[in-house]
């Protein structure tokens, strides 16, 4: 069992947990993820490790309540425990001194971008960050991103805060102004990553994306997370989660992410109907 030692609401339906998991906290590196289960009947949920404190023995998880499993996770509070926590999983981000790195996060994707930006800064890169959300009250980690970036641009789709536009527009502005960038890291909803990659491809600017397909075991055993990269099938859980964004077949990824929409809807409705109390209960 893995006790939750701190919970915070970061934005509407976005929560942050600090979980006691000393072994994982010691081992994890930026870019890696965990899988968790909340109760015996629950799914295995993959989440990026947003941060870790090896001394305290904690890892930080950030999630958006979108379906039944994350909604149920959101009902847990300080003192509750996760039934299972498996990790670290996946390859760590390749971090070295590239020069100038643009770290772009959209929506909940800012959570996985944060540790990478932090790592890139530690490796003495100049970090230019662009973070965005649909609207102001969905924006997360603005302050944290500011601390690890040499430059931070905050965008909202509706203009309710900061730059009015998409993160890709802000990147376009930077490039048009002649800003030199050696590497782009872009994480967020698939349409956002696709637009960023289309933009950087025309300029031959290397772009790393981190993918979040459906997973089951997340150890390379099932292939649920397979994705086409450069025409080859790769497993995101063990070959990724990061890939060259110019090689990823995003259209296929979107379709695969939608494979269980009807079941997800059915589960969520049943959960909400039951007043958010889970059938399995907390154990």
């Amino acid at each position: 069992m893995f006790p939750i030692v701190e919970t915070r609401v970061l934005a509407s339906a976005v929560k942050q947990f600090k979980v006691l998991a000393p072994e994982i906290a010691r081992k994890r590196q930026p870019g890696q993820f965990i899988v968790l289960r909340t109760h015996e009947e629950g799914e295995r949920i993959p989440l990026t490790i947003a941060d870790a404190d090896p001394d305290e023995g904690t890892i930080t998880l950030i999630f958006q309540e979108v379906g039944k499993s994350t909604a149920h996770l959101g009902t847990l509070s300080k003192g509750d425990s996760l039934l299972d926590l498996i990790g670290p999983l996946g390859h760590p981000t390749h971090i070295e001194k590239f020069g100038t790195v643009a770290c772009i996060g959209g929506g909940i994707g800012i959570a996985p971008v944060y540790p990478i930006a932090k790592g890139m800064r530690l490796a003495e890169n100049r970090v230019l960050s662009i973070v965005g959300a649909r609207t102001k009250n969905l924006l997360i980690l603005e302050e944290e991103m500011g601390k690890v970036s040499d430059f931070l641009r905050v965008c909202t789709d509706d203009g309710s805060y900061g730059y009015h536009g998409f993160v890709s527009d802000a990147l376009q502005d930077l490039l048009d102004q002649g800003t030199h960038i050696d590497l782009v890291v872009a994480i967020g909803p698939v349409p956002m990553m696709r637009v960023v990659c289309n933009l950087t491809k025309t300029r031959n600017l290397k772009t790393v994306v981190s993918l979040n397909p459906i997973m089951v075991d997340a150890t390379g055993m099932c292939g649920a997370c397979r994705v086409s990269v450069g025409g080859r099938t790769r497993f995101v859980c063990v070959d990724g989660p990061e890939f060259d964004g110019h090689e990823v077949n995003f259209a296929e990824l979107v379709k695969r992410q939608r494979a269980y929409l009807p079941q997800e809807k059915q589960s969520l409705e049943a959960f909400q109907h039951a007043g958010g109390a889970c059938g399995g209960g907390k154990r």
């Binding site: 072994e23 994982i24 081992k27 289960r37 009947e41 629950g42 799914e43 295995r44 039944k68 499993s69 039934l83 299972d84 926590l85 498996i86 990790g87 670290p88 999983l89 089951v216 075991d217 150890t219 390379g220 055993m221 099932c222 292939g223 649920a224 397979r226 994705v227 086409s228 099938t233 063990v238 296929e252 379709k255 695969r256 939608r258 494979a259 269980y260 079941q263 997800e264 059915q266 589960s267 049943a270 059938g279």
Partner: protein
């Protein structure tokens, strides 16, 4: 000579006893176990068929050398608990092996009665004795050697790992099992369906090991949370790698990433480990097809097909590129599948998977095959018949054409020798690898094989590890 004694004549007159089982029509719609097992009278009647050979050939046919005539004799004498204990002397998991061992290729194949008629149903008797003990027996601590102070890490809790752990704990060593998934049991839990191996039975075996003193750490992906070298540096005197062959193989044909195309590993893991067949009571979903094709002809293909029919499919097809004779699955499994209405398309090879704009499978294009000369496996090589392409309308495809080695441990253990397929190179007699103090056994050495062969490898490795630790 036992050949023509009146005693033998009499025994031949008693037919091999069938296990009562769920009727095919009914069981094809539920996930409960197919056979009910012998009641005591049937078990004793079957046990009475055993000739109690002085030089029992059956024992030589058993990868873990169970004293088969002795346990059968105890069944006959009403000493069911004694029979179970006799089994457990050599076999850590008799209730499992009684269900999933290919006895027809092992002990029963060697049975003298089988020369003229039908062999003694050794597997069914094993199952009977083990079930009786689980249901009626009390936990008895097996004799344990005094503590040696040595620590062993066992990586993977499948049949090989459980066997190694069970053997070494009795020899007085401290044993910790590291399992990547949230439940111990490996393929017994994620792979073999409930209707063939109820999970409560696996859990009982795992619980037994814990009671005997084995520490089981689930949720630990070795290679990530710790490397083999780190285990050794942290006080483990020896390491056994029993990580299995868990990497699914696909055919590399167009359309394989369409929704509705599963690896058998994914399909079975969703259903078995995550209990998706109980969705929405359990949260993990599984696609339910109306017309389901399963590629492959092994036990995993049969398990997948029989799962699909239980999930409500109207038509389930096994699509296999060779003929019925070459099916690698156990005869009993093929027979069960046929009874449950699974349809077989032999000499058929898919070349392309077809889909719609939403990314869902709608069918597949296949080619008819004919058999040519035998290939390196000794089986006749299937060859495509030109111009024989045809389409099959399906809405779910399960690819059960085998698995490969998961590279996680090997890639983080630089001095561990592997072969060209990524399997760990280990001495077949001892399980010793190229790395001192590190042993391996089961599918991660041999590639996909059977539960009992993995257990046999575990037994040999446990003996070798014991010698290494005490030498």
């Amino acid at each position: 000579m036992m050949a023509e004694t009146p005693e033998k004549k009499k025994k031949e007159a008693i037919p091999r006893q069938k296990m009562p089982e769920q009727e095919a029509r009914i069981r094809a719609r539920n996930f409960e176990e197919v056979p009910f097992g012998y009641p005591a009278e049937l078990a004793k009647l079957e046990a009475s068929r055993c000739l109690q050979c002085k030089k029992p050939a059956c024992v030589a046919g058993c990868p873990v050398s169970i004293d088969i005539p002795s346990f059968i004799w105890m069944v006959l004498q009403d000493d069911f608990l004694g029979a179970a204990r006799k089994l457990k002397e050599m076999n850590t998991l008799p209730a499992v092996c009684g269900r999933v061992c290919p006895q027809e290729d092992q002990c029963e194949k060697m049975c003298i009665l089988g020369k003229k008629g039908e062999p003694v149903a050794i597997g069914r008797l094993e199952r009977f004795a083990a079930d009786h003990e689980r249901n009626h027996g009390q936990f008895v601590m097996p004799p344990k050697a005094p503590p040696t102070g040595k620590k062993v890490a066992v990586v993977g809790s499948g049949p090989a790992g459980l066997t190694v752990a069970g053997d070494l704990i009795k020899k007085g060593h401290q044993v910790t099992i590291f399992e990547a998934l949230h439940k111990a049991g490996g393929v017994l839990v994620y792979g073999i369906p409930e209707f063939r191996l109820p999970k409560a039975i696996v859990q009982a075996e795992v619980d037994y090991l814990e009671k005997v003193g084995v520490e089981i750490k689930t949720d630990r992906v070795l290679g990530q949370i710790a490397t083999v070298d780190e285990l050794m540096a942290n006080g483990y005197d020896a390491v056994f790698l029993g990580t299995g062959a868990g990497l699914p193989t696909f055919m590399n044909i167009p359309g394989e990433n369409l929704n509705g195309v599963y690896s058998a590993n994914e399909y079975l893991t969703r259903s078995n480990l995550m209990k998706a067949y109980l969705f929405p009571q359990y949260d993990t979903p599984i696609a339910r097809g109306k017309n389901v094709a399963v590629l492959g002809g092994g036990n995993v293909a049969m398990d997948s097909a029989r799962t699909a029919i239980r999930l409500g499919a109207e038509n389930v097809y096994i699509v296999y590129r060779r003929s019925k004779k070459e099916l690698p699955a156990r005869i009993e499994e093929v027979h069960h599948a046929e009874e449950e209405g699974i349809q077989f398309h032999f000499l058929t090879l898919p070349v392309k998977i077809l889909g719609n704009d939403d990314g869902w499978i709608t069918g597949m294009e296949c080619q008819r095959m004919e058999l040519g000369e035998p290939d390196s496996s000794g089986r006749r090589r299937p060859l495509p018949i030109p111009g024989s392409e045809f389409q099959m309308g399906i809405d779910l495809l399960i690819v059960a054409i085998g698995t490969g080695a998961n590279p996680l441990i090997q890639s983080t253990t630089p001095d561990l020798q592997t072969n060209k397929w990524g399997y760990i190179v280990a001495d077949p007699e001892t399980g010793a690898t190229s790395k001192k103090g590190v042993y391996a056994g089961g599918d991660i050495v041999t590639g996909s094989a059977t539960v009992i062969l993995a257990m046999g490898a575990g037994r040999k490795a446990a003996d070798a590890i014991h010698k290494y630790l005490m030498g």
